[in-house]
């Protein structure tokens, strides 16, 4: 994993409204111990990450967006491999910043991912 590694973030269908993905996607939830799960883009493509998420893990994803490792570190957030759940798994660690700052950090990450756009979207169902 290098600074230019693309970190792939899965987006839950409820977190997209009229094509706009929520900034809430870019911060850990209360049960994530300050770690935001991503896929290591050096090890898996966006489409295969989506297939893994939905087919192998049986979880929901409407698509995949991406952030560079260096975009996270610019916000004071480190990223590292975390292969325990599965080999391509990685995390962005929010624990180095105060929780009250997560809101702003998530908006900054969201803006970066928004410019990059969808890397993969689930096929339309209708």
């Amino acid at each position: 994993m290098t600074g230019t590694t693309l970190l792939l973030r899965q987006i839950h269908p409820t977190q997209v409204h009229n094509g706009f993905a929520s900034s809430y996607n870019f911060r850990p939830t209360d049960t994530d111990a300050g770690l935001m799960s991503v896929y290591d883009g050096d090890m898996i493509s966006a489409e295969n990450a989506w297939k893994h998420r939905t087919n192998t893990l049986g979880k929901q994803s409407i698509g995949v967006v991406g952030l560079l490792v260096e975009e996270c570190t610019a916000e004071g957030l480190s990223a590292r491999p975390d292969p325990e759940p599965f080999p391509e798994h990685a995390v962005v660690d929010f624990n180095a910043v105060e929780q009250k700052a997560w809101r702003a950090k998530s908006k900054k990450l969201h803006a970066k991912a928004y410019v990059r756009g969808w890397l993969f979207q689930s096929p339309p169902t209708i």
């Binding site: 409204h17 900034s23 049960t31 702003a104 908006k107």
Partner: protein
Amino acid sequence: MTTEPFLKPRLTGARFDSGAIPLEVLADFSVLAEMIVEVAKWKYREENPNRKRIPRGFMDGITLNLTGIETGSAIPVISIVVTTAAALFPSDQQTYFEDARQAIVEAVGAAEHNRKITDHLPQNLLGYFDRFGRNLMDGEAIELSYRNDRPPVRLTKETRRKLVLASSVEEFTEETSIHGLVHEFNQRAKTFELTRPDGTILRNIPVEAPHYDTVLEASNRFRQKACVRVSGVGRFDRNSRLHEIEKVEHVTILDPLDIEVRIDELKLLGTGWLDGKGVPPAHEGLDWLVDSFDEYFPDDIRLPFLFPTPDGNMLAEWSLKSWAPSLEIDLSTKRGIWHVLNLDTDEENQQDLDLTQLQDWQWLSSEIRTLGGEVE
């Protein structure tokens, strides 16, 4: 000719506060007049069981007219007009009309107080309530009284439904408003089909000329998920399930960010909606949010993107060039955390809001306006 006040129904609810009566509600009173006549005939047959038919001219020389509207709330004055030249026994006829009035009022009272409705009217005549009171909305009532010394009875959506369900009809109709996507428009049959947010489909919805273009446009924009609101008369089964739109009165293509449409989608979330973790937002809180946006959020400000949060609350976000504003909404306390970040300068601002207060909503809309959030 004599004219006497016969019934003074008092209309209560927001639409009637100014003392005015919407024209569509007048149609209900036309049905009431029909019902009074038919109940009067039934009363005649009850008292004259040996008569095979109603005497010819039973209705001659006697009519029910709207002769005025009293103020205070909206009180239409329905008078009985008797033309003595035409009526042979006007006083007898009038008695049956008065008995009919009493029976109708008592039937409504029975529905209101959960007593046996058919002690007052037979099932077939209760079918008139399928049309009388159909235009009432939530929170509205028609108060009826046949004697000044008794409190009025209240016909509401709920009591009307009980009356219809006590009748012999298998279904009932009601003014309704639904939304969904037009996935098919049959221009030859002049009908369309609507996919509702829960995936159910309403077929053969009749469409008349004034609405063709709107329905056609919505149909063409199906893949862009152009949602329409359809208002009209719906036909419901005895379990209050809508299974047909009988008449369409209005069709409107909605804002893509329409709050009610989005909230209806989110009402479908169940426990564990976020891959096993999410708490579904409480419907009561979601209804409050719809009402609050409806009441307090100006039309000239962009609507937000709305998202559920894993703890059962809501997040509203706007996308405004360099600004990223958001409002985290606690549905139980009805408080919000406003946060805005300038993505270029990192300038940040946060404010706690009491979302039960008009001034806090005004502050919110003023902030969004300042950030460039006016509708273009």
